[in-house]
Each structure stands twice: as structure tokens, then as C-alpha cells.
């Protein structure tokens, strides 16, 4: 079997095992949340009677292990269950499948993560490589200071500053990014501009500095010395000799940031009223809508596992030593 394929399969297997453990953790963590759906949805209006009616209807009176088996069993078949909200005993059942609830939001989140990545990844690579190239120059210092400044401010602060500059003082972009399924593509891009810009500012520093560090680290190696002695220019040394060996750590940090873009941008979603999956999960946790929380958590886990898998594969492909073991 091809070594890459073998590694990929091995990693996938490990990923599945991780996913299984994660599912147990998710389930037990949710079990430990105080209160339940009935209490949360009715708030002050929760009386023992109505809460009991809710519990009966949702099957929450079953023991936890049975509910866990049911959940995992159907999740394997691709059925994430039905949201608790919208159910009602005496009329038509208007509750929605978790997947229907998740899909449009997940698409929004992936869209935002995608356009942010398209902007942020090339910029960080470019800045990282050039600042390694001109190490300790004014350019290097400026790039470092600027990106470190933007990453050091909390996201909502960066977001508000951008709103102030680009939406209030100089109205270029809208401050409301409430896109929906019917929003045309260009309108969607236009509306998502500010959240994407905010996220770009937040993640560039991490990726850029990792690129720079990985390359500089290699510059001290004997084979780079050799390349230099054989007359390669600085640009050649970095692009041809150092960069290929630096891909593994760079890919890891990019994967990490992309995963963050999918799972961790709820603050930006709230500020720009962007209907992403983060807000959905927070709402679901607050109201104890367990199937939705579980569905979101599962998808987040899969995102991390997949992106790390891809980073690993890139690391292996770019490293002949790992590609041809022994």
C-alpha cells in the first residue's frame, strides 16, 4: 500500500476513535448542565406541571445511557435527531430536524471562514516569507508590530473599530451582515466584508509568525549553509530550500486557524448579526436544546479532526523522510 494512503487510513481510524470519545464527553458534559429544556424555554413561566409535560414528551425521563445509545446509533446513520423547540403536544409538530437547522448556518459559517481564509492565508504566507527574507529590517519589525497589535485586541474591539471607521464615519460597508439563503452571491460578499476583515486581522499574526519562525529556524541548518555556499541568492534559499521543509508546521498552524474560523467566531457573529453556527450553539446551550448542542459539538469535532488530518498529510507529503520511512 502506498505510504500516504496507509497514513491517511491510519489517521482516519484514529480520528474515528477520537470522535467516539468526544461523543461521550459531549453527552456527559450536557448531562451535567443544570436545568432542562422545559425550564429554560419557559423561563419564569416554568411550573412543575408544564416542565413535566415537556420532559415526558421529549423522552427526557429515560436513563442517560439509553439516550446516549439512541443518539449515537442514529448519528452513525446520519440522523442528528430533531430539535426540542417547536414541539407541541396538541397541534402539528413544527419541530425541525437538527440537520435542517444546522445546514444553512453551517453553510454561512463555512462561507465566512472560506472568504476569510482566501484573504488571510496568502497574506500571512506572503508576510511571513518576506519578513523572514528581510529579517530584522524595518519592514520585518513593522509587519510584526502591526499583526501583533491586531491579534492583541479582543475581536469585538477590532470589530467595533472597523464598524466605526468603515460603516459609520466612512460608510463603505454595512454593519449588519444578516445574510440569508436568498442573498445573491455578490451581496453576500459585500455584507460579509466587515466580519471577514475582522477575522483576517485576528488570525493573520499567528500564521504569519509561525511561517516566519519556521523558515528562520531552518536558516541555521547545515544544508542551507551549503546552498548559500553554492551561490544561491537569499530568495532562492528561502523559497527553494527552506520553505519546502517548513510546510509541516505552517500547515498545522493554518489548520488550527481554519478550525478556529469554523468553531470559534461567535463573538464576531453577534457583533455583525451574522447567522452562523456559533450563535446557534450558544442559543441551544442556553435553552438546553440538547440535540442541537450535540449536533453542533459533533460537527465542530469533525472539523478539527479533518483539518488536522489534512495538515498531517501535507506534512507527510512535503517531507520525503516521512514519505519513505526507513
Amino acid at each position: 500500500m502506498h505510504p500516504v494512503l496507509k497514513t491517511v487510513l491510519g489517521r482516519l481510524g484514529l480520528g474515528l476513535a477520537t470522535l467516539f470519545i468526544v461523543s461521550i464527553i459531549i453527552f456527559s458534559a450536557i448531562e451535567m448542565l443544570p436545568g432542562d429544556f422545559g425550564q429554560a424555554i419557559l423561563g419564569q413561566a416554568a411550573t412543575e406541571e408544564t416542565v413535566a409535560a415537556f420532559r415526558r414528551e421529549l423522552g427526557l425521563d429515560e436513563p442517560p445511557y439509553i439516550r446516549y445509545m439512541q443518539w449515537v446509533g442514529s448519528a452513525i446513520q446520519g440522523d442528528l435527531g430533531t430539535s426540542f423547540s417547536g414541539r407541541n403536544a396538541s397541534g402539528t409538530d413544527r419541530s425541525r430536524e437538527v440537520i435542517d437547522l444546522l445546514a444553512p448556518r453551517l453553510w454561512n459559517t463555512l462561507f465566512l471562514a472560506g472568504i476569510t481564509a482566501i484573504v488571510a492565508v496568502p497574506i500571512s504566507l506572503f508576510l511571513g516569507i518576506t519578513s523572514a527574507l528581510y529579517r530584522n529590517s524595518i519592514y520585518d519589525r513593522t509587519v510584526n508590530t502591526t499583526t501583533l497589535t491586531t491579534i492583541s485586541f479582543p475581536e469585538f474591539f477590532v470589530a467595533y473599530i472597523l464598524i466605526l471607521l468603515l460603516s459609520s464615519l466612512y460608510p463603505v460597508f454595512p454593519s449588519l451582515a444578516n445574510v440569508d439563503a436568498s442573498t445573491p452571491f455578490t451581496e453576500r460578499l459585500y455584507r460579509s466584508a466587515l466580519p471577514a476583515l475582522t477575522l483576517t486581522l485576528v488570525i493573520v499574526a499567528h500564521m504569519m509568525r509561525m511561517t516566519r519562525a519556521a523558515i528562520i529556524n531552518l536558516l541555521a541548518s547545515p544544508y542551507i549553509q551549503m546552498a548559500r555556499l553554492s551561490g544561491a541568492s537569499q530568495t532562492e534559499v528561502i523559497l527553494k530550500h527552506a520553505l519546502p521543509n517548513a510546510w509541516a508546521p505552517i500547515a498545522t498552524v493554518i489548520a488550527f486557524n481554519l478550525a478556529y474560523l469554523v468553531v470559534g467566531v461567535v463573538v464576531v457573529e453577534v457583533v455583525f448579526v451574522y447567522p452562523g453556527v456559533g450563535q446557534l450553539m450558544v442559543d441551544a446551550v442556553t435553552s438546553r436544546d440538547i440535540p442541537v448542542v450535540q449536533g453542533c459539538a459533533l460537527i465542530f469535532a469533525i472539523t478539527y479532526i479533518l483539518l488536522n488530518l489534512i495538515a498531517d498529510i501535507i506534512g507527510i507529503i512535503t517531507n520525503p523522510r516521512l514519505l519513505h520511512p526507513k
Binding site: P34, G35, G38, A45, S85, G86, A89, P275, D283, S287
Partner: protein, 532 residues
Amino acid sequence: MSKLEYRAMQELKYKSGQIDRRTFVRSLLATGVALPSALSLAGQVAAATPKSGGRFRMGLGHGSTTDTLDSATSENHFTLVNGYTFGNHLTEVSNTGELIPELAESFESDDAQKWVFNLRQGVEFHNGKTMTSEDVVASYNHHMGEDSTSAAKGLLTQVKSLKADGKNKVIFELENPNADFPFIVSDYHISIRPAGDMASGVGTGGYILQSFEPGVKSVLKRNPNYWKEGKAHFDEVELISIIDPTARQNALTSGDIDSMDRVDLKTVNLFKRNKDIYIWDATGTAHYTFPMRLNVPPFDNYDLRMALKWSIKRQELVDKILLGYGAVGNDHPISTANRYHNSDLPQREFDADKAAFHYKKSGHSGKIQLSAADAAFAGAVDAAQLMAASASEAGMEIEVVREPKDGYWSNVWNNDAKGWCACYWGGRPTEDWMFSAAYTDDTEWNDTAWKTTDSAVKFNSLVKEARAELNDSKRRELYYECQRLIYDDGGTICPIFNSYVSANSKGIATDENIAANWDSDGAKCVERWWFA
């Protein structure tokens, strides 16, 4: 015809376009109004005349992905506004606070126990079906019965039976007489929907639901067949859930929305400087309380409760917690917006001597714990700290326990584990409703457990008596006494009534009276407002 009548008649004609401005001003002059006043009157009338058209976009500080179109689980302000926009009820609370018939044309009762509602005829649902008594009965049954998960279930346990009498009449038979029953049926939960379809958002309201994405937005279009005259002026409506107050204010200043609720009080003075918007506020029945549980010591002690009631600087709470947008409360839940507010009770103020006197008499010593979290209301923890500070001036020690926001309503409020906590009430349009929600001995929300003292027993019998009483002055007397009993012996500390503070762009016009029973003009702003 008197001058005033003539003027009113001419005003109506002018509003409806039967006469022009010149004729209207001339008729004002003829009745003795001086020219400058006549001109300004004409201007006012013109501005107050609703115009139709436009797309109204409103940013609301509530809304969650768990929201539904089923009014039985409506609980946040987004679902309220949305529900009132596409649906109607048997009665409604008008913008001046009066109860007026809505889908019922009229209602009557001889003994307050049997209520007859005559339905408006020829009203159509959005799906083209004509509303009949069958739909009304089905809509009510949706909230009643063993298996109902409706939040209005408790409200309707008083209904013994309900039946249709022909197509246009519904008869309610109550367990006990209730003179305020017509108010109950205006409750936002009890929306009238076509039988068999309680949850898809088909109603009789001024707007037809086009799309609804829970926690995101709701898009509606004007109902061309709306039966109510002079209401629902916008062509299209977009209700957008914008939880973050800063995002909401940004959206309003940048023109992405036309109106918003829940202005952030911390920045309201800066916000006011914007020339394109105006801030308005309405003080209604909403209030913040600090219920003490009488079944948890030391709050069973009358003097200790009294000591705490005298140890609060109420105006300070209004100034610092509400930034002036509110009014002081008098330790009972009936606001000045209610019909029978007892204005004879002296306003309780901070009085260190009286507090110290009662505290000494109570014989209590040591710390008194007060649980608070901002889940109760924004600034609840700060308010508790202020109360602790003023109480220490009277020699009492209050320890503020900061509770987690999450699960506050199940673990802290109305829970014997905590004797004293912070709470909010949206208020109720009638005295009886408010009392039976939180103060009588048969409600589960009796968060003060005030049930067994002599005053509480008397209170409970008075509430029952008043409920059955149709004579206005007798009811007033009874409710005055009820308020006095809570004020004196009750377990609640009600220091402040909070106002609803909202902001509109200058383009939005409203009637001069804005309802205060709920935020956003009684949550009916969409059908009441228009673009000037």
C-alpha cells in the same frame, strides 16, 4: 353643533382627505382660533395622519434559534412582536391602555362567570378561510388540557368549559367569577389561529408571514384584506433579531434599520446626540422586585422585612440603575398605569431610624444574604450592592451573593434554597392578573411564599371578592386594600418600575399615545406606526 364638535369633524375630514389644508385652516379660523395656531394645528394633524407604504425594518434585542411560530411557547419580545404582527386576539389593549374588542366585536357577562364573546364576522385568515367560532374554540383548547405545554395553561385553568354557540359566538364558563376575563383573552399567548393549524404562522393579522428564520429574522407583507381600519400602514416588514445592543445602535445610526428596542442606558445620552433618531420611553407595569421568602428564616419575621423595606434608597436606584428611565416603586406591584393604583399609600423612602428600629425589634443579627445575577435584570447585581450599602447605614449587613446567570430561574428564583433574590416582572394589565400571577396562595410563582400570615389570608379572600365584583368603586376599594396589605406585610420589595426605552429614526411616526403594557407600543408597533 358646538365649536369643538365642528372642529373635530373638520379635522376628521381633513385627515381623510375630504377637505384640503386651506379649507381646514379656514374652518379653524371661523371657530375663533388665531392664524398662527391654526397653521400649526393643521401641521400637527397632517403629521399625525398615517401614510401607507415603505419597508419597515426593526432591530429587536431578543430572538433565539429556539423561537417558534406557536404562540403557546412565545416568551421573548421578538416572538411577541412577531405574533402580534401576523395574529389577532379576541380583545386588545389599545395604545391608551383601554381594553377594546379585537376579533370579538363585543363581549358581555351578567355575573362575571359566564362570558359571551360575539365574534367579528367576515374576518379571513391568511389562507383564505373565514374565521368562525370553531377556530376560536380550537385556539383555546390548544392552551388547555393535561398535555398542553402552553405557557398560558395556568392562565386558563379558570375556564371550566368553552363552547361555540353558532358560527359567531363563543361562550366561556368560568370556575369562579372573574370581572377581568376580557383582559385575559388579550394575552399574547392566546392568538386566534385556524383550527388544526396552530403553529405555521397563519393568522388574521395585518401582515402575512413570508419567511421566518428563528433567531435571525422574520419577513412579512401587508395583508390586503386586513379587517382593521386605519392600521397596518407599512407595505413590508422585516423584524431582525440583533442581540448585541451596540450592533443594534450601529444598525440604527447607519440606517440599516428604522427602529430598535432596548436602548443601552449606559450610552443613551451619547446616542441622543444623533440628529437622525429620537429616543422615546414608556413607563408601564414592568418592575423589578426583590422577593423575600416567608418560609425561609429570617424573612418570616415581619420586623426584619420592614427593616429591609425602609433601608432602600429608591431614587438612587432609579438614577443609577435605570439612569432616570423609570419610577420609584412602593413595595407593591401595581403601577400608576393600572386602573386601581393606590395613590393614598405614603411613598416609602430611605429612613435609617425606622429601619434600625424594626431591625432591633426583629432580634436578628448577622449577615443577610441577597442572591442576584444580571439574569434577573440588567444591573441587578449593582442594585443589590447599592441596597447593601444603604442598609449598612441603618446598621444592617447584607451580603450580596453573585449567582450564575445560567439556570437562575430554576435554581435561585422561587426556590427555598435562597431566601432573598432579585427578580423582574413584565407586569400585567390588571390588578387581578398581577396578583394571581405572583401573590395569591394558589399560584406556583408565589415567589415570596406569602400565604399564611393573617394579612396574606385576608389578601387572598379580598382578591377573590374583587374578582367577582362588577361594581367599579367597590373593586377600587378592594384593590386599594390588597395593595396596602402587600405594601405592609408582603414579602416583596419593589423599589423601581423600569421604563421601556427605544429609539426610532426620524422617519417613523407614531400616535401621540404609545402603549405601555409591553415594550414597542404594546408589541403592536408594526400595525400602529407609519413612515411620516
